[in-house]
Amino acid sequence: MFNAIVSADTLRTTLDSVSVLVDECKIHLNEDGIEIRAVDPANVGMVDLSLSAEAFESYETDGGLIGVNLSRLEDIAGMAGSDQLVHLELDEETRKLHIQIDGLEYTLALIDPDSIRQEPDLPDLDLPANVVIEGRDIDRAVKAADMVSDHIALGVDDADELFYVDAEGDTDDVHFELDREDLIDLTPGNARSLFSLDYLKDMNKAIPKDAEVSMELGEEFPVKMHFDIAEGQGKVTFMLAPRIQSD
């Protein structure tokens, strides 16, 4: 049993942060909220998302697991105005999700969860550096780097206590740095890793500009980015494997 009402805005933000990596995902329906964990087909990017029951206008379930086609669900959510409510109800018999937006009713066929890529284990990493940064600063860095290259280095200078972004193109370079003043918080440690800009661009799309993003970094290690959605009722963690530096 699953019966919930949620604002279209919250639903869209939630779906967006998953759909940047995968087309289909499994949604765990727990009593205290929903959970989604997915890894992209190349096994390079991963998302771990939880949205608590408080983020919903009303939320009732006795547990369960459903598989959905994200782009379909996003299209439907797109039909609603931002202040409208979306009513979701699972039909256990037919395995279909009934979605109501005012008078509009959409019946979404679900996907067999077994046919969706296995969910990844959350790697347990001990990353030395931690940066808390505003979403719009990530946006600036990514946009600037995108002008010159297809990959980007994120690093923390332990001695000077600053966070920096490097992008080296064939002819032009971009360098962007933020010191303790510009950042919300900084735990220095030696860190520098190269990442695919394609992925960061996609992830950046899902990060609200006014969000506080806590970024964990290491030496040639994956980056973890944590931020809140739905006014603190939802938590998202993106994880991205580094590019191998060829030399």
Partner: protein
């Protein structure tokens, strides 16, 4: 459950048959950090290539990314999935972590669904920073560039001797009694194909707890013969009948097979036998033409007879040794000459339209004369006239005359032809637009000089039409005059 999945080896040490290939693969993986090359595993279906790749990943504890033929494998998908996977570290261990990219059926990346795929694979193989395994049935179906960029490991057919113990193990695990002879028959039937043998065993054992030799129906799986082996058969060894029958097992249509044979036969045949063999091939080609024309595919048999049995029958004396056979050059030649053929057809179409002949006639009987008359644009006026008449561009002019397309000579001819065309248009309008704008008349005045010379050329090429124009021009006016006269003036006859 499918036994081939259930008992798929989880470690290379469990892999049966192909010990040599297995050891080579293991060595490749262990020394990957030094050579950083991709590897191609190739061999017949069912000998354990895919199993080996997965077992290896398991042994090395490398996460796998797999792209197989059921995924669409366009350039985009390959670059996004395999490309990113091959250039990135892992989520658990970062930049030092290894993962393995397995590209199954790498010899089958083509067609519309996989557009641009094989080029993407080649460039990916060259810049990958993670181990990549490509799996293929036909090593030589992959492009040259791809083959050279990879190490290759051949998986040979699994011998009957190695298949029987595998089947025996399976029976024991599944608690099925068996007669050894039954297993031997299965192994025999599936010469070389371990997966086929396991599948046959499962089908036989389904719902039974004992299999005996008589259960084994001695049907054989169709096997395909590689085209290279077949060329060897038809060109060097087989008699006519054998050559024909062997061709049934080759996975090529007669349209393709004739190109394979035609391209490779002259490497071994010489003198009289070469002439006779070509005769047969010519016959085969006629039949293929009839198939195309009538869409009656039963004619394929005559084409097949000629190109296989005929070529084999033409052979005189013993052939031996090893010959380097290659894929037919027919298609690549067609591809390279496409530009030229397009130009030729364009010119022919224009000529055909102007003179009411077929394109073939235009090509065979008119274009050679034109080419001689305008050779290297020596007769400039004529060339300008031709260009204007047939509405040719620089590339077409250069095609007919043999002068370079970018030379000033050709460029100026095309420009003059443009002017000539504009004048002709004015001429042909019969004065309908005369004096319409001041600009037009002044242009005409400037070009008076050229006109005279071009008029001459015009006469040589399209004289009939030019003459017609001249005759026609006054006539409509006259007739119109007559008509108006008629309205006002009655004829004498009206009163008779």
């Amino acid at each position: 459950m499918d036994w081939t999945e259930k008992y798929r080896p989880s470690s290379l040490s469990e892999l049966r048959g192909n010990n040599k290939a297995r050891d080579k693969l293991q060595e490749w993986a262990e020394t990957w950090d030094e050579h950083r090359k991709a590897v191609v595993l190739h061999g017949s279906p069912g000998v354990g290539k895919t199993s080996a790749a997965h077992a290896l990943a398991n042994d090395m504890n490398w996460p796998t990314i797999e792209l197989n033929a059921s995924d669409s494998r366009t350039k985009d998908v390959i670059e996004r999935v395999a490309g990113e996977a091959a250039k990135s570290g892992t989520l658990t261990a970062g930049g030092g972590g290894r993962r393995i990219v397995i590209l199954d059926e790498a010899d089958n990346i083509h067609g519309n669904a996989d557009r641009g795929g094989s080029r993407a694979v080649t460039s990916l193989v060259k810049e990958a920073s993670q181990p990549m395994v490509l799996i293929a049935n036909e090593f030589y179906d992959m492009s040259n560039g791809l083959r050279n960029a990879c190490e290759d490991i051949e998986f040979r057919d699994v011998s009957k001797r190695s298949i029987v113990p595998v089947l025996r193990d399976l029976c024991r695990k599944e608690d099925i009694e068996f007669e050894t002879e039954a297993l031997e028959r299965i192994a025999e039937m599936n010469s070389g194909d371990l997966r086929g043998a396991v599948k046959d065993l499962q089908a036989l054992a389904d719902g039974k707890d004992r299999i005996v030799a008589d259960d084994v129906v001695t049907g054989e799986r169709d096997t395909t013969q590689g085209v290279f082996d077949y060329l060897d058969t038809v060109i060097k060894k087989a008699g006519p009948e054998e050559a024909l029958k062997a061709s049934y097992d080759v996975d090529e249509t007669p349209d393709d097979l004739i190109n394979w044979i035609e391209d490779n036969m002259p490497k071994d045949y010489e003198g009289e036998e070469l002439a006779v063999a070509y005769d047969f091939l010519a016959n085969a080609d006629k039949w293929l033409g009839r198939v195309r024309a009538t869409q009656n595919y039963s004619y394929w048999r005559y084409a097949g007879d000629n190109m296989t049995a005929g070529v084999a029958a033409a052979r005189r004396g013993e052939k031996g040794g090893w010959t380097r056979y290659g894929p037919p050059s027919y298609w690549s030649k067609l591809g390279r000459s496409r530009g030229t053929r397009n130009k030729r057809d364009y010119v022919a179409r224009k000529i055909a339209a102007h003179h009411g002949v077929s394109m073939a006639t235009a090509r065979r009987e008119i274009m050679p004369h034109l080419a001689v008359m305008t050779h290297h644009c020596k007769n400039r006026d004529l060339t300008v006239a031709m260009t204007a008449r047939y509405d040719l561009d620089a590339e077409h002019v250069s095609f007919v005359t043999g002068s370079g397309k970018d030379t000033n000579k050709v460029q100026s001819i095309v420009e003059d032809a443009e002017e000539r065309k504009a004048e002709l248009a004015v001429e042909h309008s019969g004065g309908a637009f005369e004096g319409a704008t001041a600009g037009e008349t002044s242009v005409e005045g400037d070009e008076d000089e050229d006109e005279a010379s071009e008029e001459q050329a015009q006469v040589t090429l399209g004289d009939s039409e030019a003459a017609e124009e001249d005759d026609d021009e006054p006539s409509p006016e006259e007739r119109a005059d007559e008509a108006t006269d008629d309205d006002q003036q009655s004829g004498l006859g009206d009163f008779v």
